[in-house]
């Protein structure tokens, strides 16, 4: 599983990354987590406001920091899709 956290580095983006890492660790999922700060790379996805969360190249949420429960749902849903 490939997870990307999109954001130039403000507090919200860092919080999202922290939550994602926690959830991945708790679920024991084999996932590669990438922090994308470069604006050109960020804009490869249909995003208008950061932070953004991309799972397996699909943008699942943007513009707000999802709760830990939401992140867990996103990741488990992505797992079942495989």
């Amino acid at each position: 599983m490939e997870i990307k956290v999109l954001g130039p580095g403000c507090a919200k983006c860092q919080q999202l990354e922290k939550t994602v890492r926690e959830v991945v660790k708790e679920l024991g999922v084999d996932a590669k987590i990438e922090d994308i700060k470069d604006i050109k790379k960020i804009m490869e996805y249909p995003i208008l406001t950061t932070p953004g969360l991309v799972i397996n190249e699909k943008l699942v949420v943007s513009g707000r920091v999802p709760s830990k429960a939401e992140v867990t749902t996103f990741i488990t849903t992505a797992l079942t899709k495989k």
Binding site: A11, K12, I42, P46, I47, T49
Partner: protein, 334 residues
């Protein structure tokens, strides 16, 4: 009318809080509220508590409303208007759309790729940090409603004018090429339930309080110092109403700085109480919030230096003009 005034005094100005703090300082700390130490402690406690209470309530309510206006929706709406109406709408939507300042770049790119004239996007970017529903209410609480409303009108006007000028000067060629290289992608709009909106609003409150609590404490601290410790003569020497350069000083000092608007309001309040012109205080506030070194550094990634300089220059000149305007006509609003 009397009920409105009572509501205003109790809810926004929190007279009950002021009286409570007065009582606290006089009877528990045993200090004279009219004296220096007692006065600054009273100012500090009262302002900090008032701002935090207002902050939480206002951010919650306004974020809830804002959850109905995500940027994607603004982009769709703005696509339908041309000319100066686009700028006006851009400025107005900028005031109610929630986003943190680091989103200004994706937003700029997204709007531009959707075909919106850059002037409209700039109107949006100028009004967003400058005019914010919560801070307007806070302004009404600290000063009064005519001033708060005048601030909104003037802020929106500045955003519209700056954006229109940028459009008219045909500065599109100064946008970095990669911005226009890819076409716009449809951004999925999330369907939010009421529970989602409440969560969003609650998270916005927590998020914003976490971000600005230090600015508020520092801002109120400086306000208290100005209020009670710094002699009026020093303040009026630099920023006095009769000094023609006061607005210039206030603006130029404020531009490179950044502080949250909730932190600068107590400073503006203290300055005005010390005899600084309303326009000078507002200029300082606007300069600090509308422009900042970090946001300019970020914008530099998407627009070329010339456009950035023009943008900063326009906003700065606008703020200076507004400052003089309020200084001259401010007494009509009190």
């Amino acid at each position: 009318m009397i009920i409105f005034e009572w509501l205003n005094d109790q809810l926004l100005r929190m007279e009950w809080l002021s009286n409570l703090v007065n009582w606290l300082v006089t009877n528990v700390f045993r200090l004279d509220v009219d004296g220096r130490v007692g006065g600054s402690i009273q100012f500090f406690i009262y302002d900090v508590v008032k701002i935090f209470i207002l902050l939480c309530i206002l951010i919650f309510v306004i974020s809830y409303i804002q959850s109905f206006f995500p940027p994607e929706r603004s982009r769709k709406i703005l696509g339908k208007f041309t000319g100066i109406w686009g700028n006006l709408l851009g400025a107005l939507l900028g005031t109610i759309t929630p986003f943190c300042s680091c989103s200004s770049i994706p937003l700029f790119i997204g709007f531009t790729r959707a075909g919106l004239p850059i002037g409209v996007t700039f109107s949006f970017l100028v009004s967003s940090p400058l005019v914010d529903l919560a801070s307007v209410l806070l302004l009404a609480s600290i000063f009064n409603w005519p001033i708060a409303l005048a601030y909104v009108v003037v802020g929106v006007l500045l955003a519209v004018v700056a954006g229109t000028i940028i459009s008219k000067l045909k500065l599109e060629k100064y946008v970095e090429p990669f911005v226009l290289n890819n076409s716009m992608m449809e951004v999925e709009q999330e369907k939010l339930t009421r529970r989602d909106r409440v969560n969003f609003a609650r998270n916005q409150v927590l998020d914003i309080v976490k971000r600005v609590w230090l600015y508020i404490l520092v801002g109120v601290g400086i306000g208290a110092a100005i209020h009670n410790w710094i002699p009026q003569s020093i303040i009026t020497a630099v920023l006095g109403q009769d000094k023609w350069y006061s607005v210039l000083v206030a603006t130029i000092v404020g531009v490179p700085m950044y502080a949250d608007i909730f932190g600068t309001l107590p400073i503006a309040e203290a300055l005005v109480l010390k005899g600084v012109g309303l326009g000078t205080a507002l200029s300082f506030m606007m300069a600090v919030t509308a422009l900042s070194l970090p946001s300019m550094v970020m914008l530099k990634q998407v627009i070329k230096m010339k456009l950035l300089v023009i943008f900063v220059g326009l906003v700065t000149v606008g703020i200076i003009l507004i400052g003089y305007l309020f200084n001259v006509f401010g007494h009509l609003l009190f």
